[in-house]
């Protein structure tokens, strides 16, 4: 029997967790709510009444549309670059012993342990010294630089958990190194690479600090919002942010449904394949 102390503790834990989750969501509620605010003038600070007018035309502000387009483009290019460069680095680090590993590990680790403000400032100083004009290209360079390490770490984790014997078996059966890589290694690390790409694009699209140093005259979504704080962030920003949340929720919901169906099919197949053992193994909850 559980004591009253345990019960209190267990309830306390649940309530504490609920409050913590609520804390995470308070500003999100505000962002969503104020996308429906019938604001007067440019300020969107106080609740004036319900309207759908901002939802009717979220791209009414041309600067905002450009900023968003830049953010998405930068994230796409930087993600592709960082994912390719980082995945190959992870392959080399996990698969091959070579001299100078320590230096490479350090070079991958250091950007993660450096505050963004230092990374951004250092890069800008280089661009200034080399008289490079900052803008779209320099943002891409900066984003690629600081997302590579995240890709390496993520893909490395996947590679380390992988059974090497499968690749060896493929090569023993006469597959060339390239065929083995294409048909065995790549499909097996694909979830890790996808996770890394997702992480890289999320970091890139949301970055303010490094971007603010290297953007020149180019606007991105976070830069636009920060710049707009003085005169009031236009409600269209809230509309776009809310839309993104809804899209993510739908995608995640679909993913859950898909996984559930796959799991159900698996269970059915197991039950057909091994009726006795399936009945003997206790359900894990």
């Amino acid at each position: 029997m559980r004591s009253t102390g345990d019960k209190v503790r267990s309830w306390g834990l649940a309530v504490w967790s609920a409050v913590a989750l609520l804390y995470l969501f308070i500003p999100i509620f505000i962002v969503v709510l104020f996308s429906f605010n019938d604001n007067r003038g440019r300020f969107n600070f106080t609740w004036q009444g319900f309207t759908l007018k901002h939802w009717a035309d979220p791209f009414a502000n041309p600067d905002l549309a450009v900023a968003l387009k830049n953010s998405i483009l930068i994230a796409l290019i930087a993600t592709v670059l960082a994912t390719i460069l980082g995945t190959f680095m992870a392959l080399a680090l996990v698969r091959y012993g070579f001299r100078g590993r320590g230096v490479v590990d350090l070079l991958v680790f250091l950007p993660l342990a450096t505050p963004e403000v230092v990374l951004g400032a250092a890069l800008l100083a280089l661009f200034l010294t080399m008289a490079v004009n900052t803008g779209f290209a320099t943002i891409v360079i900066a984003h690629t630089m600081f997302t590579i390490s995240y890709v390496v770490v993520t893909v490395k984790a996947r590679l380390e958990g992988m059974d090497r014997h499968i690749e060896e078996a493929a090569m023993d059966l006469g597959a060339t190194e390239w065929a083995t890589f294409r048909k065995i290694t790549l499909p097996m690390i694909a979830p890790g690479v996808a996770a890394a790409a997702l992480l890289a694009s999320a970091i890139s699209i949301d970055d303010y600090v490094i971007t603010s140093f290297n953007a020149g005259q180019t606007q991105t979504f976070p830069l636009f919002i920060f710049g707009a704080t003085r005169q009031g962030v236009p409600p269209e920003v809230n509309v776009l942010a809310t839309s993104l949340l809804v899209i993510v929720l739908i995608l995640m919901g679909l993913n859950v449904l898909l996984q559930r169906r796959l799991a159900a099919r698996e269970v059915r197949r197991d039950a057909v394949d091994e009726p006795e053992t399936a009945a003997l193994v206790p359900a894990r909850g």
Binding site: L21, F45, V118, L119, A121, L126, D206, V209
Partner: protein, 290 residues
Amino acid sequence: MLRLSLRRRRQLLPWLFLGPGLLWLVVFFAIPLLNQANVSLQSGDAETGYAFNWAFSTYTNAISDYDTQFIRSIGYSATATVLCLIIGFPLAYFTAFRAGRFKNLILLLIILPFFTSYVLRTVAWQLILSDNGWVVERLRDVGLLSTDGRLLASRTAVIAGITYNFLPFMVLPLYVSLEKLDRRLIEAATDLYASRVTAFRKVTLPLALPGIFAGSLLTFIPACGDFINAALLGTSRQYMVGNVIQSKFITILDYPTAAALSFILMTFILVGVFLYARLLGTQNLTEAAF
């Protein structure tokens, strides 16, 4: 065509794989840092330009001029990290052990706020804590805040903002290390007559250390260099070293001081990470964390 022996190819292949990424990191990370070291030792002024002359005075001046912001950064970040741990540990524990079939849903809820822009979430806090906002008015009604009392533009607001923004970075590594934990060890401890509290202190907590380590670093390091929270939720009296570096670089064009401050911050963090790893006692912690 040049045919290389298999052995030779084996030696070249890793460098072929590493090459492009490594080159990118060297050119856009290592060289900028070295260049930054050079800049930090220059002297001069924004109009006539700066020249390298081993000006170590930049460092001593930077420290004496901005020690307040520096100590403030460390204090705010440390406080926020501890708060994240206090708020996040029970949440991670609940998710790992008690959430049952809601586990994935809760994890989803923890990462969902990430999909709203960081700056926008902070702007939302600005709105929530604003002087004529609902929260401040209610607090004034019940007398918890004086009639001219404010929440915005205070130390509390900045620390709360940092805590908020980095909370998921604390919760996720904590969750990962708790989830991996072999629950039979806790059962064994209670079977051997350890109280629940003792079992938690002697089994759960030590095994969650890699998560605590990773979470603290993922919270503390970005918090130390953050300037968005101080800029949006505070005033110049709450400015952190990130704000100084940013304004020195972008507005005042005092590159040497900004570079020197960057280096001091980076050195402090690296030394701090090292000492923290030693303090928690496991040498492989860094590897476990990254």
